[in-house]
């Protein structure tokens, strides 16, 4: 796992190589082991390396045999062993054991279609010295980040936005439409990023830059069976188990020890159990909370005992969350509406300090195999629409959210009304997400007049509609919900703000077996009833896990991963930055939010009267945005590239 950066130009001599070195140095946390630079008149590539595969031979940027192709690569190719064998049989000769070199040879063989043969998580750039073209690509689901921007004759790309901002020609300005996105969907719709000048290469996309013109295309997207496709489905739990076991097997490939994150839920427990069969002394890492509402350590310990795991626990308090939150936002590079990334930031620190660079996680199971409460909620709301007189409404919602205390206390009539279903809602292409998005969109009331005016003509839902696949309308409702989660929240928040960014902040690489392309393909053709049987989520996975994990974990009520939100910043000891950034004068200076609205919200938290999910999202959303403005706009600082302790290679 690594950090990549680069600049290409249509005018030779217009790239400052030292500046690319500075860009690369901004990514030291992603790759503290080595740093490399490749310099040509029209292309300069940088790379910071976290050495995992072929520790001695995998230095980057790397070239092919004749030096006609140069690559800077962040990620892992899990099927590199099999692809290498295939290429060797076709006459390719390898100099190293690294997966990086496999990409180069595969590109020689197949050109830009090479990515279709990769099983992995990647973001890379390949410079073709003969055609003077740049090829950028990002993995199917969007595990690895990749951003770019075009300034005049130059295209700049990097793993993180902060590297692009080293170039003074790149403006650092928030995009009001991005805030509109985040304060509705919890993420931006790619290629939009929180900053006007920067684009994200969307998941499953590639880009070819030639003579100053960039072309972007989609190389992969999720596909599902359509309504009416009633071909018999022979999928069995054993087939899922085999696919998952293989996904785990190839993700344990590394020249360093591989550990796992353990939440205590079904998904990570399944992964840990499959890993433990291959490594009897498996090392696992968990988050535990002081607050019992969020804590799952009881379940974690149960699995640790059952599988005899070598386990380490990071106990997280609200003071910890507040303390690290500025660093969390610096790494997330986006406004966030939850503090949930903060404990994961601390967990990667524990993992690194324990001597581990690689962990497997259970991420992706809820999207791929149908686990989220939002899928269940949509089923219930459809049931209500069909039986409007049913008096079981409130009890169904209470059953759906047993962990939400406030919701449990709500009067039945109010619950029924809040989750009411109108005929217009039923016809919506994003029916499942309407309650969540409507609630979140209330946060836009916090925005300043200027911010709202700047996005007044912008319609996020038109943007969303434009991204939907043509056959989306032919998919069953359950599948449509799955698609929305998989295409947007998963890469835009779960795998980034809670995933790559928090892990790489401490040089830890996460690998996700549930997002293996074979597992995803298998899951995609499953009928919805095998994913959620009535209201029993991840049904097939539970069947597949029958003899793997204790029954108590397999059948326990699902508890989504959450952390203390707004209250974390209003404990007995308050960090100075909270008061500074939320002060009316600072809010007014930054111009993003209405000072009176922020002051009213702060008063509410001060008095301990903020109890709703909306208030929590509002406070965390405001504070993270203010931190983003502070660190990326008001006080942005580039690091000195020559202060690094890593080895540096320069090819030119």
């Amino acid at each position: 796992m690594c950090g990549i950066a680069g600049v290409v130009t249509s005018e030779p001599g217009s790239i400052d190589a030292d500046r690319v070195m500075s860009m690369t140095a901004m990514l030291n946390h992603r790759g503290p082991n080595e740093c490399g630079l490749h310099v040509e008149p029209r292309a300069v590539f940088g790379h910071t390396r976290l050495s995992i595969v072929d520790l001695a031979g995998g230095c980057q940027p790397m070239s092919n045999d004749d030096g006609s192709l140069w690559i800077t690569f962040n990620g892992e190719i899990f099927n590199h062993v099999e692809v290498r064998e295939e290429l060797v049989s076709k006459g390719h000769r390898f100099r190293t054991e690294s997966d990086t070199e496999v990409i180069l040879h595969l590109f020689e063989e197949h050109g830009t279609a090479a990515v279709e043969k990769l099983n992995g998580q990647w973001a890379f750039g390949i410079w073709n010295t003969r055609s003077q073209t740049l090829f950028l690509s990002r993995d199917r689901i969007g595990v690895r980040p990749l951003f770019y921007t075009v300034v005049g004759c130059r295209l700049l790309f990097a793993s993180e936005i902060k590297a692009l901002f080293v170039d003074p020609e790149i403006s650092r300005e928030l995009d009001p439409c991005a805030l509109d996105n985040i304060f509705t969907f919890w993420t931006t719709l790619p290629p939009r990023t929180p900053f006007k000048s920067v684009r994200a290469l969307p998941p499953g996309h590639s880009l070819l830059w030639r003579h100053g013109i960039a072309t972007v295309w989609q190389h992969w997207r999720p596909t599902f069976a359509c309504v009416g496709d009633d071909r018999p489905n022979q999928s069995s739990p054993e087939m899922l188990r085999t696919a998952l076991d293989d996904a785990v097997r190839i993700r344990m490939r590394a020249d360093v020890p591989v550990g796992a994150y353990l939440s205590g839920g079904l998904d990570s427990s399944v992964i840990v159990a499959l890993m433990q069969r291959r490594n009897a002394r498996l090392r696992t890492f968990s988050i535990a909370f002081d607050n019992v509402d969020f804590d799952e350590s009881h379940h974690q310990r149960e699995l640790v005992r059952a599988l005899n795991l070598d386990h380490a626990e990071m106990r997280c308090s609200i003071a910890d969350i507040s303390r690290v939150f500025p660093d969390v936002v610096w790494h997330a590079e986006s406004p966030i509406l939850r503090t949930a990334p903060a404990p994961l930031f601390l967990l990667s620190q524990l993992t690194r300090d324990s001597g581990y660079k690689v962990v497997l996680t259970g991420e992706g199971a809820d999207e791929v195999l149908g686990g989220y409460d939002i899928f269940k909620e949509a089923k219930i709301r459809r049931f209500w629409a069909k039986f409007p007189g049913s008096d079981r409404r409130a009890s169904l919602v209470r059953r759906l959210y047993p962990y939400l205390r406030n919701l449990q206390r709500q009067p039945a009539q109010y619950l029924q009304a809040f989750f009411h279903t109108s005929p217009e809602d039923l016809a919506s292409p994003w029916f499942s997400h309407l309650p969540r998005w409507r609630l979140t969109a209330r946060l836009k009331l916090l925005l300043s007049e200027d911010m709202r005016a700047a996005a007044a003509d912008y319609d996020a839902f038109s943007d969303l509609a434009a991204t939907l696949p043509l056959e989306y309308g032919d998919w069953p409702p359950f599948t449509q919900s799955q698609y929305l989660e998989t295409a947007h929240l998963l890469p835009g928040y779960i795998l980034s703000s809670q995933g790559d960014r928090m892990a790489m902040a401490h040089s830890v690489e996460c690998r996700h077996p549930f997002l293996d392309p074979d597992v995803v393909a298998f899951a995609s053709q499953l009928p919805p009833t095998l994913k959620m049987k009535v209201l029993n989520e991840k049904y097939l996975l539970k069947q597949a896990a029958r003899d793997l994990i204790p029954a108590s974990i397999r059948t326990r009520t699902k508890q989504p991963y959450r952390a203390p939100d707004g209250a974390a910043f209003f404990g007995s000891r308050r960090d100075d930055y909270v008061a500074d950034l939320l002060s009316p004068s600072q809010v007014k200076r930054d111009g993003v939010f209405r000072p009176a609205a922020v002051a009213a919200l702060v008063r509410k938290f001060d008095r301990g009267q903020a109890t709703s999910a909306k208030d929590d999202m509002a406070l965390v959303g405001i504070l993270s945005t203010q931190l983003l403005v502070d660190r990326f706009i008001n006080h942005f600082e580039a690091v000195n590239p020559w202060n690094g302790s890593f080895r540096t290679f320069v090819h030119s």
Partner: protein
């Protein structure tokens, strides 16, 4: 009554609309809080706590119904009713 409605409106605007009472979230005295999305799923409890504290009234669980609480005028009427001296009922033991 008018004063009461103003007070409750101020609370609703500050607590549920982040102090914003401009269009498109402006609402009339008779607009349904739920239909207009003004009071969210947990908001009703906040409103009830506020009413109990501010107007020194006790609200029973079976009074937590939209007929009492789903618009400014309904809330105001409900509060007025609750502030009237309640008949004393002696329960036989």
């Amino acid at each position: 009554m008018e004063r009461l409605i103003q007070d409750i409106r101020a609370f609703i605007v500050e607590n549920f609309l982040f102090g914003d009472n401009s269009t498109p979230v402006a609402f009339s005295d008779d607009d349904s809080f739920q239909e207009r999305g003004i009071v969210d799923s947990t908001g009703i409890l906040e409103l009830v706590c506020h009413l109990q504290e501010r107007y020194a009234i006790a609200i029973a669980d079976d009074e937590l119904i939209p007929e009492n609480l789903d618009s400014l005028s309904k809330v105001a009427r409900f509060v007025e009713r609750k502030r009237q001296p309640q008949p004393v009922v002696n329960h036989a033991r």
